[in-house]
Symmetry: C2
Subunit: 429 residues, 2 copies
């Protein structure tokens, strides 16, 4: 192997960074054979130099400052696995591009907030940013979307992309436990971010969705336009009742371009229990890509962890070693359109759960409100009850969120509703 | 868009070729934005010039001879969607490479039989052959394996890669129909190749498996070493009994590198009903990629048809337009090892169905034979029966095929067996 090695500067030696070191060291020959040249780490950077990470770093130069690492003359590719969307990660990424380095990053927050500016900076420098590890961990979904399906006009992109949320929701269902109990379990197992709202609030998954949407629809990343709703309000009652009707509740990201503009949602949704999304258990991720020629492609795999995330980083690194070059979001940043956010989401069937006072005509009044708002009923179930209140489940035919909200607003005037109804979208998959 | 167009010569105007024409024509702007340059068809070739294909070919030069097409000076990439592993497809592919053209092909048979020679020819010419469309239709699995997971030592690659076989097997189960009836249905629906044995004999799927194995394990394509068994002997009884024990029967391809060498099998196997492979219905394809870092990645999508296959062809074309270049099987052909075929497959649990004469001690004799051959029993079920024969089902613990065959050989001497036992491997997924 006579070709010059591709030299990595690795910033961040947590789980992912350590995983990258292990792959580079253990698979040097395999990678050189596949890439056509060796891949070598020349320098590393992390917060704490002394920490034992279970990997031999003695052959690498050390930099305390990731910006210094990013601009070293013996670094070709800056690998950023520190995290955080401001501060060191951003500074070092910008410095790397300015210094003419390519960047491989696992940082979804950084790109969700600054993707357009960074993509422009990369192109001005004649470099690129690769971020397979930022979305759905080990699943090569950025590659599938940007390259494999590049001949398609994309119709819709969906995904369960936060393993912690899917763990919580499936554990609630399997063990019959309330949200609060399982949340605490997840916290003790170390599954939650330091700020748990990044997970359970849907923010982390929303970051990922905004990156997929930019590639799929040729638009500037617009994380601020993602409709975000976390899983904190999903009750075990809803999980059980949805299951009873053949559905599962998932924190599902959906991006689609409609006549009304770009729709980006990361919200709890019902999906059919027997669909690939409905069958997804535990911390596994799944992304569904729908193109006009290819139809539906489903990708499933580990969304986090040392090995899977490092695998994604190395896929990007090997692409760069092979000389593959393409713009950050699949086309030049200047050609990405400014998306018009859809003012309202596409019509869908809805799951409605409410409690009614047990009086004659109560159900009829609710049905009338729905009809007057133009929302028709597909299924309705009234469950047996002991007290004075009757739990009622309704699945509507397709309706807009606006029409549904109009109906719900009318419910209040009927005086038959106890508390607020729960409304969850049913995503047709 | 000032860059020079990438010029395609398209040989074959059947379903796939027509699909390619439609994408190139309908998505010219989208493709140019993504590829950084236009993609244009300059010339086409097919058996019958006059046939109406529902696509406007008037702007393209016509060649009766695909070899003439492949060597035209106004062609940069030869797109071969004719099919057939000898004759015109092979001649034209070789001619294209010699003339310095890259090749994009959907032809699994050609590569399964001549992959190594063609890869060498491509490298000598400084060109490459891309074949995403040859394996699992629209699923970008070649890309995922060759590029996305390039940082992994692959452990195992599996797949349901013949939609017709999966249609037949799931239709048998869902409708309770015997093989012969559903085979005839599939024939009338046009799902079968002109030579149905390519489908139901596992040959087509075996071709695909041999290509995945070459990439995954860095070995020369060795289709001749694939253990092939079709679905013609799968009975509705076995499908029902397997279902009763929580399994589904699939025509499953498995490639893995073991201490005994490279194992490649395309055989009917049992998989858990609740696994992604077990849940796969109808003509959909699924490929499972297992790497040492990434763990398990599952890809699911349409395995055939105009749109999906043309999507895969266009993914390859756009890669070439972007300037991506890598060796045909992911590393230089000269570095691919000559695989040693594993003499025996890895140990597995087995499903055994047999009919015993209804005499005291019959079951004990069978159990003794298994024990003497070193095969231990995990589950055994004797089904109720009306006559003198008792159907018996056994699921073994892990055993080699050799040990199982020794046990089955001993069965004959007991005199309690009616007919031959059915033995199907249970693949742990």
């Amino acid at each position: 192997m006579s070709a010059a090695p591709l030299r990595l500067g690795l910033a961040g030696l947590g789980t992912v960074g350590t995983g990258v070191v292990k792959i580079v060291q253990s698979h040097a020959d395999l990678i050189a054979a596949r890439a056509g040249r060796p891949v070598a780490i020349t320098a590393v950077s992390a917060r704490s130099r002394g920490k034992n990470r279970g990997a031999d770093l003695s052959a690498y130069a050390w930099e305390d400052d990731p910006v210094a690492l990013a601009t070293r003359p013996d670094v070709d590719v800056f690998v950023e696995v520190m995290g955080g969307h401001e501060g060191a990660a951003k500074d070092a990424t910008e410095a790397a591009l300015s210094a003419g380095k390519d960047v491989v990053t696992a940082n979804k927050a950084l790109l969700a907030h600054h993707g357009q500016a960074l993509a422009l900076a990369a192109e001005q420098a004649g470099r690129t940013i690769r971020f397979e590890a930022a979305v759905a961990g080990g699943i090569p979904v950025i590659k599938a979307l940007t390259e494999g399906l590049a001949g398609n006009a994309m119709k819709r992109v969906m995904g369960v992309m936060n393993g912690t949320c899917n763990y919580i929701l499936t554990r609630m269902q399997n063990a019959g436990l309330p949200y609060e109990t399982v949340f605490e379990e997840a916290r003790q197992l170390g599954y939650l971010e330091a700020d748990p709202n990044l997970d359970v609030g849907g923010i982390d998954a929303g970051h990922k969705l905004s990156l997929l949407a930019a590639i799929a629809f040729g638009t500037k990343v617009s994380f601020d336009a993602v409709e975000l709703e976390g899983i904190g309000s999903v009750s075990i009652d809803d999980i059980n009742l949805a299951a009873d009707m053949g559905y599962r509740i998932k924190l599902l990201g959906v991006a689609q371009m409609t006549g009304r503009g770009l729709e980006q949602r990361m919200t709890p949704c019902l999906v059919p229990a027997d669909s690939p999304l409905g069958q997804l258990q535990g911390g596994t991720n799944m992304v569904v890509l729908e193109g006009d020629s290819v139809g539906q492609i489903v990708l499933r795999g580990p969304g986090a962890g040392e090995g899977p995330t490092a695998s994604a980083v190395m896929g990007d690194v090997i692409d760069l070693a092979r000389g593959f070059r393409l713009p950050c979001f699949g086309q030049p940043a200047a050609t990405l359109a400014t998306p018009v956010a859809a003012a309202t989401s596409a019509p869908a069937p809805w799951y409605l759960r409410m409690t009614l006072v047990d009086k004659p005509g109560a159900l009829a009044k609710i049905a009338t409100c729905l009809g007057e708002a133009g929302v028709s009923i597909d299924q309705m179930r009234q469950y047996g009850h002991k007290g004075v209140h009757a739990p009622v489940l309704i699945v509507t035919h397709k309706a807009t969120r606006d029409d549904l909200d109009h109906a719900i607003a009318r419910f209040a005037a009927t005086g038959v509703l106890v508390g607020a109804p729960v409304a969850l979208r049913i995503e047709e998959v």
